[in-house]
């Protein structure tokens, strides 16, 4: 590209205007407008200051600025059931005509008869069976097309909104703010990597290569002479609990400076983050707002749950380790982007 006289004039004019004001990014003011003032908000702001101001003794080079976020319950609503579990149940319904035997076989029978009580009692093995059957048998691209079709149309219970609308506005602000400060934001989810990659960029601004998650075995094969990665009904990697630290090391190869979660499945991710030197930020979202979202624990006397448990042991560790517990009720002005 050659720079013409005309471009020169444009650049000079723009510079002259900018010269009298602060650039837009500084003029914006509060980077976390949906957060109430308090310990949680202050922790984020102080962490960013400590790691990104050149004069800070805890300054971190941009190339090493990594922040990791659990998804379910940390970035979006996970109650009454994880979105991906809802997708799996939907798939059972879609696939049922080709599986007449499901009418009389559990766990499929409960799904097909809409037995909520039965579904709520599914064991981990029941879920593994449902996920294996509904998430395999097709190429990766066909699977992503199925997810895309569902995620752009299916509505979540109670709010009657798309699942992707039930994202937490305050967390979107944290992600955006970190990215503005040259952090790269990764999703590190116990859910399916290939599932979250479908909408991660659109919903969170996180591109596929920054989504780490659980995966099943894929097999390199050919369909009509074209290579396809066929999804097999076998788990390959479980990105949960210790798996989150393992996954972070395997996929990113760098230790995060900040990590956000909400259950014991995020414990090792936060431990692994904290074990590095310099400034580190570890935060846990506590769902204590039954009015605007859901309230469950059982930490802090909140009702117990099978989905996204914040255990008392986790709260004890958080207090001992200096992890910041975010109260949705007290710390967040808004929960969802559509909230006033």
């Amino acid at each position: 590209m050659k720079i013409s006289r005309r471009d020169l004039i444009k650049v000079s004019a723009a510079t002259a205007v900018l010269g009298t004001f602060s650039p837009a990014s500084e003029a914006v003011g509060d980077p976390l407008p949906s957060w109430n003032d308090g310990t949680s908000k202050k922790a984020v702001l102080e962490f960013v200051r400590a790691t990104t101001e050149k004069s800070s003794p805890k300054y971190v080079e941009p190339k090493d600025r990594i922040a990791t976020f659990d998804q379910d319950g940390t970035l979006w609503t996970e109650h009454p059931l994880y979105s991906q579990a809802m997708f799996a149940l939907h798939r059972v319904g879609e696939m049922a005509p080709k599986h007449p035997e499901w009418k009389t076989t559990e766990p499929f029978k409960s799904v097909l008869t809409g037995d909520r009580e039965g579904i709520s009692k599914f064991s981990e093995n029941d879920w593994m069976e449902i996920v294996a059957v509904t998430h395999s048998g097709m190429g990766t691209e066909d699977f992503q097309a199925l997810v895309k079709q569902w995620i752009t149309t299916a509505k979540a219970p109670r709010f009657d909104r798309l699942y992707t609308e039930l994202v937490f506005q305050p967390m979107l602000e944290v992600m955006k703010y970190l990215r503005e400060k040259d952090f790269r934001t990764f999703i590190v989810t116990g859910g399916g990597q290939e599932f979250a990659r479908v909408y991660g960029e659109r919903v969170y601004g996180v591109p596929p290569e920054q989504v780490v998650g659980s995966s099943i075995v894929t097999k390199y094969d050919y369909v009509n002479g074209k290579p396809v990665l066929m999804r097999e009904p076998k788990p390959f990697f479980i990105d949960d609990g210790p798996g989150k630290a393992i996954g972070i090391n395997m996929f990113i190869g760098k230790r995060p400076y900040a990590a956000f979660g909400n259950t014991a499945g995020d414990q090792q991710m936060l431990e692994w983050t904290q074990a590095g030197d310099g400034a580190r930020l570890m935060m846990l979202v506590l769902h204590d707002d039954g009015q605007r979202e859901y309230a469950y624990g059982p930490a802090k006397g909140l009702p117990d749950t099978q989905v996204g448990t914040f255990s008392k042991a986790l709260l004890t560790q958080a207090n001992k380790s200096g992890w910041v517990v975010i109260s949705m009720k007290d710390d967040w002005k808004r929960i969802y982007p559509f909230d006033k």
Copy 2:
């Protein structure tokens, strides 16, 4: 940052100067000075033009510009033996005092007695055993420290140079050129991911999160209360052959636009790359320069080898598929950075 009057003057001055010349990046001239003119060089230049010029019908958005490179034999010399295999043999020597039984047990006996003939006949299982023993039993950080110590001191046979000096200057130029054009360059190696991550950034400009490779199982554990990822003597993922396409999908989640390899272990990576639409570049390095590097095939009548075989079948597929075969002898002016 506020822009001051003084900055304004600087910018205007700089713009005025630039206004009369092309910007520096254009003035540099040939981005591939170590390449002779010919089909290979032209293929790279034409691919970059087609994917990065805004007016091109095959223009690719910067966020999707992914290029993947095999390492051994594609980015650096792999003869007489892969660098990591040399590291493993070195580790056997280091560990031997604590394993008196190795004196009489194969495959260790051959290593300890320096039996080159015996080593050259090691089966894949022999190598697996050696790698498992020498690459496990420590935390990931301790392992990387061992690699760093070795890779910064050990000398490669014949050239008496550090292994990291035996990188191919023309390939470094391709990587640099692609990065200048907003491609992200990934190493996709059959070798150890954790091994190549130690020096990838320094040697190739490829950061840890852009190194995809084979890995062993790691276990989350605690040493003195601090979390550690312990390396276990069990393979986890083999990033070779079909594994390269699987690894690319798993780690990157995007299809490359360009892929570079040199053996049948790279075949599926190139197929997977080519199966996307738009402009795609697939290249294979042929080691046909025994004088400046090594000559082996057996394609094109070159001597057969066990290390980095370029088979006749691969050449047939390359010709059929329009993959570009790089002749080290004819296409490269220089092999190594230290060559005149």
